[in-house]
């Protein structure tokens, strides 16, 4: 079980993502996961061994290290990567659920189990919201835990059993700072991508919804027009139909006994359209 496992799971998400989602995935794989594994892990490898305090008091270094690094930055980074990638699995699970449902009912229930509509769209939007929430949450956590994204060279420690105040030196502070800034920049980029994808999807499906409603209205009106065409063609009836708008129209041909009478009222119109 390693990062390869996460990578394999996330590769499956790619199929059901939008274009922006695929760019997000590529950024997570290349600029976050790969950089973490090949570079950043080594920078923090010996962080406690190389954390040095200007004191011989046993236990002082341990206590000071624990005080300044309650959770190591590299571990927080790893947790962030895992939490941020996991909401995408909701989409994979939903598609799997759809496919199993189709199998169970032995019939085609969906146009395409992977197409983004209805429930799957809702799941996708929820996963985007969670992803963004986790990114922001971890950035705030990093900021609060370490007092910004700065890694100082020297920290002053006065925890027991250190006698008085002791100078402690962090190893590779500049390199750690550079990688922390890298984390911040890539996180912010991912947040921007998630927010754009969210806005794009909401906008697209709102427009689609409005267009569908408009199409429905037009079709209803067309069908109403076609119904009226079946009326026995009578000059007066036709002119009455063309010139009246919403007012009740009586179409009547009293000369021919078999002729039908159609009465169009506002209530009927409303019912049809609803």
């Amino acid at each position: 079980m390693s990062w390869g496992f996460l990578r394999d799971i996330l590769s499956g998400v790619n199929k059901y993502s939008t274009g922006i989602g695929r760019i997000w995935l590529a950024i997570v794989f290349i600029f976050r996961l790969l950089v973490y594994v090949v570079a950043a892990e080594h920078v923090w490898k010996d962080e406690q061994k190389e954390f040095e305090c200007n004191i011989r008091q046993p236990g002082c270094e341990n206590v000071c290290f624990d005080h300044f690094f309650p959770v190591s930055q590299i571990r927080l980074w790893a947790l962030q990567l895992i939490m941020v990638s996991t909401p995408s699995l909701l989409v994979v699970l939903h598609v799997a659920y759809r496919k199993s449902r189709e199998k169970r009912h032995k019939q085609k229930l969906y146009k395409n189990p992977g197409s983004m509509d209805g429930g799957l769209l809702f799941t996708y939007l929820i996963s985007l919201i969670f992803k963004t929430g986790f990114e922001i949450g971890f950035l705030v956590l990093f900021y609060k835990l370490y007092g910004g994204f700065n890694v100082p060279r020297l920290v002053k420690c006065d925890m027991r059993p250190c006698p008085n105040t002791v100078d402690c030196y962090i190893s590779k502070p500049t390199e750690k700072k550079v990688f922390l800034y890298f984390v911040v920049v890539t996180s912010c980029l991912c947040i921007v991508l998630n927010v754009s994808e969210l806005s794009y999807l909401i906008f697209k499906y709102t427009i689609k919804c409005c267009l569908q409603r408009y199409d429905k209205k037009v079709q209803i009106m067309k069908s109403e027009c076609q119904k009226l065409k079946y009326i026995d063609p009578d000059e007066t009836a036709r002119t009455a139909l063309f010139h009246s708008n919403a007012s009740p129209v009586l179409v009547n041909t009293p000369d021919k006994p078999e002729s039908k009478t159609y009465l169009l009222t506002r209530e009927e119109d409303k019912n049809d359209i609803a």
Binding site: A26, I30, V37, V38, H42, D46, C53, D167, Y169, T174
Partner: protein, 225 residues
């Protein structure tokens, strides 16, 4: 997740590259990534633990090490390789997008062999030419930037044996000794040379694509006439 995954992604782009592009990719993976992983990482493995300063003052070694090596050579190379490989992903994404469009067009009308579609090679023309040329341009820029950063950060490409450090809390000036300086210098020069070769390959590929484009363009009006 490691260099192997990057190789898998870039291997897919290889099919659609020019011959020079294929050579570039081979040089990248064999002479840079592989050397980095199997050799350079060992040389720099004990860089801080074997960095010794002539003082007992606690903290002096840490501070001096941080002062002279703000970002380790190994990390800079790893970042350089990642950044230099990334523009090829633009090409991979463009090809994936075209395949996806083709799939969408064909599945509605006729039966399609997915395997055939995935194996199909796209020629570098039209919008793909622009994407490919942009990716080469960015590769050249990233290589140049990293080489410049190396030069500025380490005052040249040589690793000195002795460094004189007077950063606080070191008392006065202290002598600090770098571990394996000659081996590190040799690897630095090697990686620099290979970067240079990769840059030349990229420039040659770009010229080839531009010339190919220019030669095709005048032919079109001729055929119309």
């Amino acid at each position: 997740m490691d260099w192997g995954s990057l190789q898998k992604v870039l291997g897919g782009v290889n099919k659609h590259s020019t011959s020079i592009g294929k050579i570039w990719l081979t040089v990248l993976f064999i002479f840079r990534v592989m050397i980095l992983v199997v050799a350079a990482e060992r040389v720099w493995g004990d860089e801080q633990s074997d960095f010794v300063c002539n003082t007992l003052q606690p903290g002096c070694k840490n501070v001096c090490y941080d002062h002279f090596f703000p970002i380790s050579h190994i990390r800079l190379w790893a970042l350089q390789l990642i950044f230099v490989s990334t523009p090829a992903l633009l090409v991979a994404m463009h090809i994936a997008h075209r395949r996806h469009e083709k799939k969408r067009q064909l599945t509605s009308s006729e039966k399609v062999d997915i395997e055939e579609l995935n194996k199909q090679k796209f020629h570098i023309q039209g919008p793909l030419w622009w994407t490919y040329t942009c990716s080469i341009f960015f590769r050249i820029i990233f290589e140049a930037v990293f080489m410049y950063v190396f030069y500025v950060m380490y005052d040249g490409y040589q690793m000195p044996r002795l460094l004189k450090c007077s950063a606080w809390p070191c008392p006065n000036t202290v002598d600090c000794f770098v571990s394996r300086p000659t081996e590190k210098t040799m690897f630095t020069i090697f990686m620099l040379s290979v970067s240079g070769i990769c840059m030349l390959l990229n420039v040659a590929e770009m010229c080839y694509l531009v010339i190919k484009f220019c030669m095709k363009a005048p032919r079109k009006p001729a055929t119309l006439n």
